[in-house]
Symmetry: C2
Subunit: 201 residues, 2 copies
């Protein structure tokens, strides 16, 4: 614990104020989103944020760790899903998850950074690994935690696959009628399938 980047002490000659860490994190999210993982550098993020590169390292560590922090904030709105699933009867957990998923994606302010960070994770194996760890630990494993069956994890993954695929076709590929369908219609069509994955025979 004593050797983590945040404990090394602040680099000499840099000024920090309240919100500096958050400023760097938001700048990193924007830089990774715009340039992809490979073309983004800690130096470039520091320059765009108007701080010394040493300060970026001080707060976050390596480029991979800066990327993890950027993914963290892009993904934050999606992380309420397990909580939503817990708020009601298990036999309607699929519907609550489906409804929460589309509510998150329908908001352009959430969708754009989410998509951009997913795109930059497709760019590079190290970035994909960071993304995989976050999605597994914070989303899929926690959804699986609600399923009292031995194959809970693959069930959670296939339910997520249905929703992620629908988002790809609706918001990225934009094929109609899926792209212009009412969210309530999508919930009606997808909730039973999601529920089937979560708890079905």
């Amino acid at each position: 614990m004593t050797d983590t980047p945040r404990r090394r002490g602040r680099p000499a000659g840099t000024r920090v104020g309240p919100g500096t860490r958050e400023l760097i994190q938001l700048t990193a999210r924007r830089e990774f989103a715009e340039r992809g993982y490979e073309k983004t550098s800690v130096r470039g993020i520091a320059k765009a944020a108007g701080v010394d590169p040493a300060l970026v390292h001080h707060y976050f560590g390596t480029k991979e760790q800066v990327f993890a922090a950027a993914v963290d904030i892009a993904f934050a709105p999606a992380l309420g899903a397990p909580q939503k699933m817990a708020e009601g009867p298990p036999e309607a957990a699929g519907e609550r998850l489906t409804r929460f998923f589309f509510a998150t994606w329908e908001d352009p302010a959430t969708r754009a950074p989410l998509l951009a960070i997913m795109r930059s994770a497709m760019d590079n194996e190290a970035a994909a690994a960071v993304f995989r760890r976050l999605v597994s630990a914070q989303l899929l494993d926690r959804i699986a935690g609600f399923i009292e069956l031995p194959d809970a994890t693959i069930r959670a993954e296939l339910a997520a696959a249905q929703l992620v695929g629908a988002a790809m076709l609706r918001y990225v590929l934009k094929v109609d009628p899926l792209a212009s369908a009412d969210v309530e219609e999508l919930v009606r069509r997808l909730a039973p399938v999601v529920q089937q994955h979560l708890t079905g025979a």
Copy 2:
């Protein structure tokens, strides 16, 4: 029809041989896959293929049309899906589609260009539109053609969403146990859901 790029006549001073068109098409697929849509130019494709840029225009037209040709060959292996669905009883069409889908994706020689071209279509709105037209006309509409129900198209799209999402989690994000599951297990778990989308109540 007389004004399409292919009818303009071959540019003076260029030599073509059998396979030149195919060479340009394969080079275009590689260039778009490596650089993304925005950073690829007709000039760059011509240079990489060792031909005059005018020849690329002669065969394919605009950059958008060159991209369409590149998507065409990357996608060709997937286009057997509607045919596969037709080869057997309708109540097992979901299983045939699911099996065909994973057989295509399991082959790395097919998967790599497919993924790369999908990634470059995520890059840019014009590229996404090219991709959308191809996927709609050659895949989704033809799958929907097998479904004798008024909502056939959205049914085909949601079935495709389930499969595309599973491919994203298995081959791109690589979350386990989905990433290392046996294809037969995936067919067993997904075919009933795909069938439900295609023909269910």
